[in-house]
């Protein structure tokens, strides 16, 4: 069902449009990668021929900007959020979906209602709570509020709906415990859904900015986004080193995207089916 004939002028225009769009999408990445090898002036001017400053830029990023520490902080926070988050939310979703009761449906409706409240309205009272418990400037303050996610519970519940109840009943007859059913049967057969949830949670935490910006005050606790934004406030900016930090903050997400496109898009698009 080709709408535009092969070799026609219209087709040529379409190609030009597509390629121009593709160029705009890719160019900033190309410029960033080249920027890692340039001195600060050339980064700003937009030289797109690789230079020879990568080594010194990298040294600056590591020594002056503590790149490795920030990368480690970000990774630690994101991974712990994923591990706790997927476990807690998947169990909750499974409880809501496969052990239905009127009371729990009401609770679920309250959860969905809370989903409406925007982040900015939530973080202000949350900040006071966190500071009351003397958790400011700790990674716990970043991880703990992100573990429970109404969206992930909703997403996983939609997925669990497809898991046949007959299999669970058969397993019960065979003497499996309820936790055993979930861990031993449901989890292995629904790994793709779990992967989507994990990717979504990883991305949200890896990229989160507003909440860490409020709670992280000390230099050693910073995550990559916080480090990047505070670098941009400096009087003189080492753009080459900055580019290395940008690339390092994008790279894990890019690798995940290219390796697991299907789960990645499913994770982002959420409940679209």
């Amino acid at each position: 069902m080709a709408v535009v004939r092969y070799g026609s002028f219209g087709r040529f225009i379409l190609w030009i449009l597509l390629l121009a769009g593709a160029f705009l999408c890719v160019f900033p990445f190309f410029w960033t990668i080249v920027g890692m090898t340039l001195n600060p002036n050339d980064v700003v001017r937009g030289i797109v021929i690789p230079g020879r400053e990568f080594r010194s830029n990298f040294d600056k990023a590591v020594k002056n900007y503590n790149l490795l520490l920030f990368f480690f902080n970000s990774a630690k926070i994101a991974l712990l959020t994923v591990v706790f988050g997927v476990t807690v939310n998947a169990f909750a979703a499974f409880g809501f979906e496969k052990y239905r009761s009127k009371a729990r449906e009401t609770v679920f409706a309250v959860l969905l209602l809370a989903l409406i409240i925007p982040q900015i309205a939530l973080v202000i009272p949350l900040f006071r709570l966190v500071s009351f418990f003397k958790l400011l400037n700790t990674h716990v303050a970043i991880i703990l509020p992100s573990v429970m996610s109404v969206f992930i519970i909703f997403f996983m519940r939609q997925n669990f709906r497809m898991f046949p109840n007959e299999i669970m009943e058969a397993a019960r007859v065979d003497g499996a415990s309820e936790t055993g059913i979930f861990v031993g049967i449901v989890f292995p057969s629904m790994k793709a859904s779990f992967a989507s949830a994990a990717i979504y949670m990883f991305l949200a935490q890896w990229n989160s900015y507003l909440w860490p910006l409020m709670t992280i005050l000390g230099d050693t606790k910073k995550t990559l986004p916080i480090a990047l934004s505070s670098m941009m406030r400096a009087y003189t900016i080492e753009y080459g080193a900055l580019m290395i930090i940008v690339v390092l903050s994008i790279l894990p997400v890019l690798v995940m995207f290219l390796a697991m496109q299907r789960q990645f898009v499913a994770g982002l698009l959420g409940s679209i089916k």
Binding site: V44, R45, V107, I120, P125, L213, L242
Partner: protein, 295 residues
């Protein structure tokens, strides 16, 4: 199969057990803060001291020109950027679905690439690209398109354009993937039937494709709207604290600055955030009415 009452009670207990950890976190870190903000907004905070002001924060809000101006920027970005982005995403999706099928997979990956950048990372990149002596101005100057550098970050008008350009770069591919999925879900039989009836390409697009795509378009319009209403990272980093001179100040950024940068007045910031909650509530209502229950 044991269907006795005691077994049901057992399963019910298991159900509560499974949802318990999430519920504890929900009550402690979401429900309690939400409820406590009701107390917060009736007070004026100075450091750790607070005094009761009743609805004073809301009265102050009514006279706060900068806040309403900031909220206006949210609506401005919403009204210009979202239609622009949806239009572009729709065109790209239709081209990839019907026009050019070769390399479709590759194009889809490329157009999705901007989405792998964090909001902070791409704001930083655009801030560098758009400096007055930066790459974009240099290209325009070299090609003779402009006589003097455009103040992408320093001119109140162009700074708004900058935010719109950046948002469009970051999100068009994301929406395109949505639309592409929607297009691929349309049954090809409908098109074949229309072809038999002698429908033209244009007619097929406006009579079949577009109407069937409306739910997807609405969904992406509503999600984009709620995103735009919470715009924070871009104005804080890309145009530097909502600058120049509040020209790109948004509601969320203003609230943050009230609580953390300017006055540490959590009561006032909390009261301001209620406006965003109300808007979000209205949006959610529209979403439910427009899209119905999605199951």
């Amino acid at each position: 199969m044991n269907k006795s009452g005691s077994f049901y009670r057992y399963l019910n207990r298991i159900g509560w057990l499974f949802v318990l950890p999430a519920m504890l976190l929900f009550c402690g870190l979401m429900l309690y803060p939400i409820l406590s903000s009701l107390f917060l907004v009736t007070r004026k905070w100075k450091g750790f001291n607070n005094t009761f002001v009743g609805l004073g924060n809301f009265v102050r809000m009514a006279h706060d020109g900068i806040f309403w101006q900031a909220l206006g920027h949210n609506f401005l970005f919403m009204l210009i950027q979202i239609p622009l982005m949806i239009f572009l995403a729709l065109i790209l999706a239709v081209i990839l679905n019907q026009g050019i099928k070769r390399y479709r997979g590759a194009f889809r990956v490329i157009y999705f690439l901007p989405c792998v950048t964090s909001l902070v990372a791409y704001s930083v990149l655009f801030r560098i690209l758009l400096q007055s002596n930066g790459l974009l101005n240099n290209i325009f100057l070299n090609f003779g398109l402009i006589a003097k550098p455009i103040g992408w970050l320093s001119d109140p008008f162009w700074a708004k354009v900058t935010i719109i350009i950046a948002l469009t770069w970051r999100w068009t591919g994301y929406n395109m993937v949505f639309f592409l999925v929607g297009l691929q879900n349309i049954d090809t039989d409908i098109f074949e039937a229309a072809e038999v009836d002698g429908a033209s390409q244009r007619r097929k697009f406006f009579a079949i494709t577009l109407p069937l795509l409306i739910p997807v378009i609405l969904f992406s319009a509503v999600t984009s709207t709620s995103g735009t209403m919470q715009l924070f990272d871009e104005p804080n980093i890309l145009t530097y604290e909502g600058g120049p001179g509040n020209a790109t100040m948004t509601a969320a950024l203003y609230i943050y600055r009230q609580a953390f940068v300017l006055n540490s007045d959590f009561g006032y910031a909390g009261a301001l955030s209620y406006v965003i909650v109300v808007i979000a509530g209205v949006l959610a209502f529209i979403q439910i009415r427009l899209l119905g229950r999605r199951d």
